[in-house]
Amino acid sequence: MGDSQYSFSLTTFSPSGKLVQIEHALTAVGSGQTSLGIKASNGVVIATEKKLPSILVDETSVQKIQLMTTNIGVVYSGMGPDSRVLVRKSRKQAQQYFRLYKEAIPVTQLVRETAAVMQEFTQSGGVRPFGVSLLIAGYDDNGPQLYQVDPSGSYFSWKASAMGKNVSNAKTFLEKRYTDDMELDDAVHTAILTLKEGFQGQISSKNIEIGIIGADRKFRVLTPAEIDDYLAEVE
């Protein structure tokens, strides 16, 4: 493949017009644990597998879903440490916006700034692209919103989306199941069922993580007890 000769440098286009490093970054994302998001009529839910490398790991110390602001949450597929860097930068940008305007940052603005950071790392010297795709879920004056941001810095608004290992099966499942008038609870059930589709092993509140935001505009990660309740309803 002629492209491989151009894969050494991020800032060099290959003859086919691709930046090969970004393609590799997407591969890193594609081999990460599955995560998904669903936008309901009155909120957004994001969820991810939380497969830990060993049973000796204290699962309460691991949190993949994080808050960017009180009304915006994020989940990733790919390299965890890269997502932490992005979350840190985005949190700072959100607070800078608030300091200037004394107003909470709209979801689209925060997504744009996060995407701009990711794009910077595809055009600077001596850095590599981020090995994560992010699903950003928020609720602001424009209602519930769900965005996906890729390592290249492109972002899309989704009604429902999945990323990571099982992405094609998950997306097919979501396409069948998604309805425009879904409510938040239905969306959570659908999210669990979608995760179950490609899940290896027994799904439980210890190996998945779910975050929701409703009309109260407060993003929160569900406790294991709440996840158990939803799992029981799904059975």
Binding site: L100, Y101, E103, P106, Q109
Partner: protein, 204 residues
């Protein structure tokens, strides 16, 4: 003479029933010499948001240019107009950026916010915000303006009455100040229309 008195100015904004009025004098001076009698101190940011800038005229113009720049970018990025409260926070932040070499101007901000609720505020040259429910004043005639507004103001005035009140308050105050006057300029903003009027006054 202090730097704030170099050009002379008078600004006042008042809240009425679902409307607001903002008024200024028209004199531009260089110390005691009058140089222009049609100087604009009140600027439009968008249909429902106006800012008046008193103090040093060059700083007022520069501040206005910077604010219009920021607001236009905001409109392009966020695809909406700035709310008055947000705009006031922005003005305050921009003024404080120059804490140790400030712009010598005192803004008066007036706008209609969400649900067309009137919003007014003023701040000093360093960005200390002062929100008010009734009226705000600024400029070399501010002390007279405080007195005039305090006695003439009533809450919930209809647009016509508000216009009369703010005009009388402005004219009687600038008549007591040698550095401001030479006519008046009043903008009355309701949810549906904007009325702009020039006041005939003592030309001294």
């Amino acid at each position: 003479m202090s730097i704030f008195e170099y050009n002379g100015s008078a600004l006042v904004a008042m809240v009425g029933k679902n409307c607001f009025a903002i008024a200024s004098d028209r004199r531009l001076g260089v110390n005691l010499q009058t140089v222009a009698t049609d100087f604009q101190r009140i600027f439009k940011i968008h249909e429902k948001l106006y800012i008046g800038l008193s103090g040093l005229a060059t700083d007022a113009q520069t501040m206005y240019q910077r604010l219009v720049f920021r607001h236009k970018l905001y409109q392009l990025r966020e695809e909406r107009d700035m709310k008055p409260q947000t705009f006031a926070s922005l003005v305050s932040a921009l003024l404080y950026e120059k804490r140790f070499g400030p712009y010598f101007c005192q803004p008066v901000i007036a706008g209609l916010g969400d649900d067309d609720i009137p919003f007014i505020c003023t701040m000093d040259c360093l960005g200390a915000k002062e929100l008010a429910k009734d009226f705000v004043v600024s400029g070399t005639a501010s002390e007279s303006l405080y007195g005039a507004c305090e006695s003439m103001y009533k809450p919930n005035m209809e647009p016509e009455e508000l216009f009369e009140t703010i005009s009388q308050a402005l004219l009687s105050s600038v008549d007591r100040d040698c550095l401001s006057g030479w006519g008046g300029h009043v903008l009355l903003v309701t949810p549906t229309e904007v009325q702009e009027r020039t006041l005939k006054a003592r030309m001294d």
